[in-house]
Subunit: 350 residues, 2 copies
DNA sequence: TTGAAAGCGCTAACAT
DNA sequence: ATGTTAGCGCTTTCAA
C-alpha cells in the first residue's frame, strides 16, 4: 500500500520534476498545454503532481507569464444592493473563466479611487471595472499607458472614448420627469444623492431639470435636496420639502433607498401616497417591490450589468476590441405615483 | 523647462537605477526600508522613481518577498446585506494596512468553497476569512500545511481549534425560543435556511428545538420548513405553516429576509401581526427596523465582525497568535412579537 | 551606507 | 515530444 505523503508546502515544479525523473518544463506543459504532452507521460506527470499535492505558485506564474488571471472592481461601496449585485454578476462571470476578483471600495472618494486604481495596477490585475465616468484624466492615462483594459459602468455617454456598459442617467431622469409631467404634476421636487464626486447623481438632477425646462416648468433650488443614500437622511429631506410653502406634488429620488425614506416620512406624517404625493425611485432593488406601497422606479439589471462588464473585460483581455453596451432602463410603475390630487389636466402616460 | 516624460509601462527598478546611476538595490531599499538609505541619496532616488512614474510589479515583489499583501474572503454570496457588510468591514480594515481584498463567493456550495480556497492559496493570499465551521477536514489541513492564517466567522464553538470571530448560533436560537416561550407561546414554527451545507442554519434549528424540548414542548417536523433566503420562498413557507390544522402562534425565521417574507404573507392573508401571530428574524438588517411592523430580531454587528476578522488576520500575518472572539447577539424586540392571543399564561420576558 | 549578484518558481524559447 | 535554460522584476544576503 502506498503511503500518502503529506503535501510539503515547499514542493515546487522543479523539485517534483527532479524526484520523478521528468523535466520541470514538461510538468509546466502538462499544467498549461496538456495537449502538447504525450498521454502516457502526461498521466505520469499528473500522478506526480497529485501525489505531491502540488499547488502552483501564483506570483512566480504571473511573473513568468505576465498574467495574473485576476480582475479588479472598484465600487463606491459594497453595502448597497445595487453594487453588491453588480459585483456578484462580475465575480460569477469571471469565475467561470478561472479569474479571481480583487475588490476595492472608495466610499465615493475620488482620492481613494485613484489610490485603488494604482493598487490594483500594482497587483497586476489583467483588467478592471470602474463605476461612473468622471475622474482625474491622469488615471485614464495611467491605465492606458499600462495597457490595462477597463470598463466603466452605471453610466453611458457616447462621447466617452473608452468601453462602457451602462445607461444614460440624464435620459433616465428625463424619462421619470416626463412620466410625472404626463400624469399631471407641475410642482416637482428632487431628493438626490450627493452630486459632488458622483456623476450619476449629478446627471440625474441635470436630466430632470432639463426635462422640466423643456416643458416650461421651473425647478427652484429649494426643491432640490442632496443627501447621502440613507433612509434617515431621506426622511429629513422629505420633511424639508413638505415644510415648503408650496410642497411638491411629486418627488424624484436619486435611488430606491432615498425613495423608501421619503415614503416613510410621508406615511409618518399621515400623508397618503400616492394620493397626496407621488414618489419615484431608481434601481429597483428588491425592497422597492416588497414595501407597501410598492415604489415606482427604474429597473437597473445590476447582476447582468456585472456580467456584461466581465464579458467585455474578458474579451479585451483576450485581445478582442471591446464593444460598448448602452441599456434602456425600464420604468416600473407601482403604487407611489398617481396624478396629483387636484389635477384635471392629467393626460395619458407617455 | 523639464519635459515630462511619459511613464513607460516597461520601467523597472533596474532600468531606472541604471538611468540614474544608482543601484537597483538602493531603489528597492528606498521603497521598503527608507531609513536605511542616506537622506540625500534617498531624495535623489525618490525623484528618479517619481519622474519615471514607477509602479512596482506586484508579482515580482511577491515572488521575491513571499508576501502578497493580499487577503482573501470567501462568503456564500455578496448579495446579502449581512455578508456585504461583513466584507465591507474587512475590506476597510485591511485597506488601512495596505492590503487588498480578493473576494470569492460560493453560493453555499462546499465544492465551490473548496475550489476557492485552493484558488486563493494559489494567488498567494497572506490570510483568509471563511464563513461557518463545517467543511472538508482536508481544507483545514491544506491551509495548515501551507501556513496560511485564517479565521472563520458567523459561528462560534469553543471546541474548534482554529481562530473564530462570531457567535453561537444554537445559543442564539435558544435565546429566541426562550423569549417566545416566556411571553406565552406554546405552538411554535420555524422557517429556516437550507441547513444542508449551512451549519449556521442547522445550528439555529438545533438550538431552537433543544430549547423547546427542555421546556417540554414538541416541535413536530411539519412545523419546520427549510427554504432558500428569499422573500417569495418565505411567503410560501409561511402559507404552508398557516395551512396546518393548528398553525403556530409564533414563527422563528432563519434570517430577516425570511422573516420579512413570512410577515408579508401574514399581512396578505389579513392576519394581524403580532396580535395573531408572532415572527422573529435574525441579523437585524436595516429593513428589519424600517418595515412595518418592525421585525423582532437578533442584532448581528456585521461590519464590526468584518473588522475584527481583519484584525485577527492582520495580527496573525504579523506573527501574533490569534485570539478568538465570541460575541453576544442582542435581542431587538420590535413589533412582530407579542404574547399569543388566547394566552393567559404569559409571564414576563426573561 | 551602497552595490553586486543570487535567487524566488515558473513559462516559453530554443535545442535536441 | 521532451529537455535545457534564460529570463520575468524584485528583495535580500553578502562584500566592499
Amino acid at each position: 500500500m502506498k503511503r500518502k505523503s503529506a503535501p510539503l508546502s515547499g514542493d515546487t515544479l522543479k523539485s517534483i520534476a527532479a524526484a520523478g525523473g521528468i523535466s520541470s518544463a514538461t510538468l509546466s506543459r502538462v499544467l498549461n498545454h496538456p495537449e502538447k504532452v504525450r498521454p502516457d507521460l502526461r498521466a505520469r506527470a499528473m500522478a506526480l503532481l497529485a501525489e505531491a499535492g502540488y499547488v502552483p505558485h501564483g506570483a512566480a506564474r504571473s511573473l513568468a507569464s505576465r498574467k495574473t488571471r485576476t480582475m479588479g472592481a472598484i465600487i463606491p461601496t459594497v453595502d448597497s444592493a445595487l453594487f453588491a449585485k453588480l459585483v456578484d454578476g462580475m465575480q460569477q462571470a469571471i469565475h467561470e473563466h478561472g479569474y479571481q476578483l480583487l475588490l476595492a471600495s472608495t466610499n465615493y472618494s475620488p482620492g481613494r479611487e485613484a489610490g485603488e486604481v494604482r493598487a490594483l495596477i500594482e497587483r497586476g490585475v489583467d483588467a478592471m471595472m470602474l463605476v461612473g465616468r468622471s475622474r482625474d484624466p491622469e488615471l485614464y492615462e495611467l491605465l492606458h499607458s499600462k495597457g490595462i483594459p477597463f470598463v466603466t459602468t452605471c453610466h453611458y455617454d457616447a462621447a466617452d472614448p473608452w468601453p462602457m456598459v451602462g445607461w444614460d442617467n440624464a435620459a433616465a431622469a428625463q424619462r421619470i420627469a416626463d412620466y410625472l409631467l404626463d400624469i399631471g404634476h407641475r410642482r416637482l421636487g428632487v431628493i438626490a444623492g450627493i452630486s459632488k464626486d458622483n456623476d450619476r447623481a449629478a446627471d440625474r438632477v441635470a436630466g430632470f431639470t432639463r426635462a422640466l425646462t423643456r416643458r416650461g416648468i421651473e425647478l427652484p433650488p429649494q426643491y432640490v435636496i442632496e443627501k447621502p443614500y440613507t433612509v434617515p437622511e431621506a426622511r429629513r429631506a422629505m420633511a424639508t420639502l413638505l415644510r415648503l410653502p408650496e410642497p411638491p406634488t411629486a418627488v424624484m429620488c436619486g435611488n430606491d433607498i432615498l425613495a423608501y425614506g421619503a415614503l416613510q416620512e410621508c406615511l409618518w406624517q399621515n400623508l397618503r401616497v400616492p394620493e397626496q404625493i407621488s414618489i419615484t425611485g431608481f434601481d429597483n432593488i428588491e425592497m422597492a417591490a416588497h414595501c407597501r406601497p410598492g415604489i415606482t422606479t427604474l429597473n437597473v439589471p445590476a447582476f447582468e450589468l456585472g456580467q456584461r462588464a466581465a464579458q467585455i473585460l474578458l474579451a479585451a483581455d483576450a485581445g478582442t476590441p471591446p464593444e460598448n453596451v448602452c441599456i434602456e432602463l425600464e420604468l416600473i410603475v407601482r403604487d407611489t405615483t398617481a396624478p396629483p390630487r387636484s389635477s384635471t389636466s392629467a393626460r395619458l402616460g407617455s
